[in-house]
Symmetry: C2
Subunit: 402 residues, 2 copies
């Protein structure tokens, strides 16, 4: 297998996966079901927000010109022409020299262009208001359409809809939105030694951890996992299983033994499909050298290592960035101890985050077992790039939250 020697780095692999990733379909959902979904089309405001010129203070709506030159010593005398009620249309018109009471949120009547705060006024008798301070046109007024203009693009495709976005759409009376359909992702564990988790492994057998951890990871990223039965390392059985999974899903994740013999069977099966193209086979990444990707028609099969920690880490490293729309969360941390790594290979190291004065420290979890209890104790992972030979204690890195 000559291809096994052409080892890519993880960025190249990710790039290849991105370029072959199946397109996303859209679907309409009602607003109450749109939270945590990804917008598939831009949203255009059907209305002005606010819908009318609105006071931002309690006070008197005026024509600004009538207040020019007013002062404590020489107030402007305005004629009180009425009152705007909260939630009522201001259905009268202010003439020059008039004012009217207006509450915060009230609608400015025609003829008024500004509001004097009540603090700078005094009522004189029933009909007269003294204004002790001038206002400029537009002062203390929120203009119609100032927040959002009718026809304006307010949200763009690709946005993750959070509760406040749902509220924003509700405020505009938008009842349904176009969001991306979740991907359907087939998951197949392979290996003669892999047994269902409800069975007690005999020596040398391992429980099918990957079907559970990968399904959970797929689901956490908003895609829909479909788990297939465990397949033996045998050409026909594997071909049949991959064939069904490709027919029923957008993407298939295989995970299996990392020995060269078993990888060869997998690769032979994948390349035996009539429209198959090998994207890569082997990565300069720890953990996860034995990772491969094959495009089959407009679908994609990603072969992950069999080892549960490697399989899940490689899923996070080369699949999650394509499935995830929300940005990966990270925090700036300092590593607590020296961490060695081999130059020419990207290392991803699970860490615990420990709060210390002055920030957070990342404590690497380098168990000799490499079992999933290591990842279960981890809060995040750090990346040691291929050009480095490790990190020094105290060095600053980004920790990506699991």
């Amino acid at each position: 297998m000559g291809e096994f020697l052409k080892v890519l780095n993880f960025r190249e692999a990710l790039q290849k996966i991105k370029s072959c990733f199946p397109g996303r379909q859209a679907e309409k959902v009602c607003l109450a079901e749109a939270c945590n979904r990804i917008l598939a089309a831009e949203i255009i405001s059907p209305e002005h927000l606010p819908a009318f010129n609105r006071s931002t203070v309690d006070g008197y709506a005026v024509n600004a010109g009538d207040t020019f030159g007013s002062s404590e010593a020489l107030p402007a005398y305005l004629n009180l022409a009425g009152e705007v009620k909260m939630g009522m249309e201001a259905d009268f018109r202010l003439d020059s020299g008039q004012c009217c009471w207006i509450p915060t949120g009230g609608m400015l009547p025609e003829g008024a262009d500004s509001v004097v705060m009540v603090e700078y006024t005094e009522k004189l008798g029933k009909d007269t208001v003294l204004v002790f301070r001038p206002v400029g046109p537009g002062e203390n007024v929120m203009q119609k359409g100032e927040d959002v203009t009718e026809g304006e693009v307010i949200l763009k495709p690709g946005k993750l809809l959070r509760p406040q976005d749902i509220g924003f759409l509700a405020s505009l009376g938008i009842l349904e939105t176009d969001v991306f359909k979740p991907f359907s992702i087939g998951i197949i564990s392979t290996g003669d030694e892999v047994i269902p988790i409800d069975r007690k492994p005999l020596t040398g057998q391992v429980r099918d951890v990957n079907s559970y951890s990968l399904a959970a990871a797929v689901q956490s990223l908003g895609s829909i996992p479909q788990v297939y039965p465990i397949v033996k390392d045998e050409f026909n059985a594997l071909k049949q299983s991959v064939d069904s999974a490709l027919g029923e899903n957008d993407l298939v994740l295989l995970s299996g033994g990392s020995s060269v013999g078993i990888m060869d069977v997998t690769l032979d099966v994948l390349l035996s499909f009539s429209n198959a193209e090998l994207l890569f086979h082997g990565l300069a990444v720890k953990p996860g050298k034995p990772t491969m990707a094959v495009r089959v028609g407009d679908k994609l099969v990603i072969g992950l290592p069999g080892h549960p920690v490697s399989a899940l880490m490689m899923f996070y490293i080369i699949c999650a960035p394509v499935l995830r729309f929300a940005p990966l969360l990270w925090v700036d941390v300092r590593v607590s101890v020296n961490i060695a790594s081999q130059a020419g290979r990207d290392d991803f190291v699970p860490v615990q985050l420990v709060e210390e004065d002055g920030g957070q420290t990342a404590r690497p979890l380098l168990g000799k077992s490499g079992l999933l209890n290591i990842l279960s104790q981890a809060d995040a992972y750090i990346h040691i790039p291929g050009e480095k030979q490790g990190l020094k204690a105290g060095e600053k890195v980004k920790a990506y939250i699991f």
Copy 2:
């Protein structure tokens, strides 16, 4: 309403809510449905991991004593007694002076206590292995139960189950787990001016944004929202609605007009229940002064402001910390400009995070409208504590991710 004057800070309010929060019920779910749920009971390992003493290298299993004193010049001569096959039981016993080939992951045979790496050995003929370096007892061996011991507590109640935790449980053959039942949370919007979102507001009317944004927020935190019809500011109607919602949920969120008159109706209704106890009424918090909480029997009603930004922010500030089990995510940032705030009041300000060299900067979103488009543009919020009068540009704060 004398109570209106007893204004608490948000920490005191949160404390009161925590102390009266209904207890969580547990339920059993199968492992495939446990991701993103919260563990309700500790998990005890039913097995040793690994299940047998296992080699961590390729080499020869030996009795360490047989290698003592060996060197390049004076190798130990051991008798090759067999081979351990990967995934097979090591069903023979090594006697003193014997060794056997063992692959990484292979099971140590009885009589062997350590493994010499193949690099430090040489095979001589068919039956003899030269060992050029001594090993200590236990060297290159992972002991049975070293990762996890049978009977050990491996996960504690309150843990959020992530994909790796699901995988960890799968590796131990654990088929179902006790997780907390989601809370059921009733949501009632009140106010004469509030209309369903599919209707076009007349002047002074507002669409029922809170039913949507609060339901989405409740759902995002893993609880189950139940939205009730909009209720007018009228004692009997409100009492009837709160009564049903209390009967059907663990907790009720009311949101309504923030004027004193409307708050009084709400408070009268809540205190009219026979076993009601006022927890607080009015908070020294911006945005969200008109927030209240009343305990009714073993349930809780939280009255949020009517303004959509205030309602959602107050939900995040005093409800989310109790509903959420996962820690709130935050990043260290510097504020981009001076931000004024009033001493004696906790301010929560929505911000955009902007990547700059040397870290992230928080740019406050201080729209005059306070409409939800502000929160829709925000990535996070910052907290200006009551004892401060604001933040200076460049000052370091924590930004809590929405």
